[in-house]
């Protein structure tokens, strides 16, 4: 494990093969890398060696996308074993998964879905997280997801449900600010107000990404829709408002934050991604400075 190159907060990017050349030539501007764990679950020890070499040069975190820890069904042992093996081999600083279900009753949804936020679901998620923490030997950071549908049957709102789970397990939160921004705009909340309702003292890591507006389908000819919803697609730049949320977050928490820019396609010149990382650093610095000013004035 290598030491951080910066002070309190760190900013990095998600490791993607397509970005490898840019990442290697800009390592001096990258504080940490996040690696999608699932992409390497089938890799043998030899295939993992390049990642071990990378981990010796820059701090890494592992990010899982398919466990479905917030599902009401128990996660299969082999999925957790895969993560345990990878964590053991690569020795990341942390690993993370999503507050989502991805399968139920043998049906694979194919992506992260928001479960009905009920007491029963909270208990199941806590049980899944406790079990995987024991098997992997390290607690995961849990990430909020973007959803295009407000999950039916919910008895909790998203911040309350999230707080119940992460507080009970005592683990950290990976707060995806674009997911939060999407959910706020899609379901009639103000992003800043929604942010402040999350258990911010638990945030250890932050994801930033972009998305696009898509048309809402009309449910009937009599009720044509003219509305749009924001889709988190990871192939657009981080919007300015989301950097604003990062600044607000940095203003309200004392703990250091690790920030990851996520980009999954339509890759721009790497210098452009460096400017996105710089914008994140600026937002963090502004938020921290604002807190310092308020403390000095008090």
């Amino acid at each position: 494990m290598v030491k951080s190159k910066t002070g309190l907060d760190r900013v990095g990017i998600g490791w993607r093969g397509e970005l490898a050349a840019g990442i290697f030539t800009h390592l001096d501007q990258i504080d940490l890398l996040e690696i999608i764990a699932d992409a390497y679950f089938k890799s043998d020890a030899r295939a993992l060696r390049p990642l071990q070499t990378l981990a010796a040069q820059v701090p890494i975190t592992l990010h899982g996308v398919s466990m479905g820890l917030a599902g009401s069904e128990a996660v299969e042992l082999w999925r957790m074993d895969n993560m345990a093996r990878l964590v053991n081999t690569l020795q990341p600083e942390s690993w993370s998964e999503h507050l989502a279900f991805v399968r139920a009753g043998g049906i694979e949804i194919g992506h992260l879905a928001a479960p009905p936020r009920t007491d029963l679901n909270i208990c199941a998620a806590i049980a899944n997280i406790e079990r995987v923490s024991e098997i992997v030997g390290q607690r995961p950071l849990m990430e909020n997801i973007a959803t295009l549908i407000d999950p039916p049957g919910s008895r909790w709102d998203e911040p309350g449900w999230t707080a119940q789970i992460v507080n009970a397990c005592g683990e950290g939160l990976l707060l995806d600010l674009h997911n939060l921004y999407d959910n706020a705009l899609n379901f009639g909340d103000k992003p800043e107000k929604l942010l402040m309702r999350f258990p911010l003292h638990r945030v250890r890591e932050v994801h930033l990404s972009g998305g696009k507006w898509i048309d809402e389908p009309s449910i009937s000819k009599e009720q044509p829709s003219t509305r749009q919803r924001l889709l988190d697609d990871h192939v657009h730049d981080v919007p300015g408002d989301v950097f604003g949320l990062l600044e607000l977050l940095a203003q309200h928490v004392a703990q250091p934050l690790d920030v990851i820019i996520e980009r999954d396609g339509l890759y721009p010149d790497f210098d452009h991604l460096v400017t996105q990382m710089d914008a994140a650093r600026t937002a963090l610095a502004r938020g921290r400075a604002s807190t310092a000013m308020m403390k000095a004035a008090a």
Partner: protein
């Protein structure tokens, strides 16, 4: 009929277009026929119907993406280098 959970039913609605359209045409009848509890059926009466369609479309697109053959690490690295070169030449 044995009970199924709301999560299982949602997974079906997200992935099965026929089940989804049947549900959207008569939610209560479809949910009852699937074996959901009265409480779950009640919660589906006010389901975000546009959101259901949008979420299902989004998941279908993700599944299609997963099914595409993945290029090797080396191929992706080369693609990245070529794209970077092309961008630089265009500047």
């Amino acid at each position: 009929m044995s009970r199924i959970t709301l999560e299982v039913y949602l997974a079906r609605l997200y992935t099965d277009a026929v089940a989804r359209e049947t549900f959207l045409s008569d939610a209560e009848t479809a949910a009852r026929a699937a074996g959901l509890s009265e409480e779950d059926i009640d919660s589906l009466r006010t389901i975000d119907r546009a959101g259901l369609r949008m979420a299902a479309d989004s998941y279908a697109s993700k599944r299609a993406h997963h099914r595409r053959p993945k290029p090797s690490f080396g191929e992706r690295l080369l693609d990245g280098a070529r794209a970077a070169l092309k961008l630089r030449q265009g500047q």
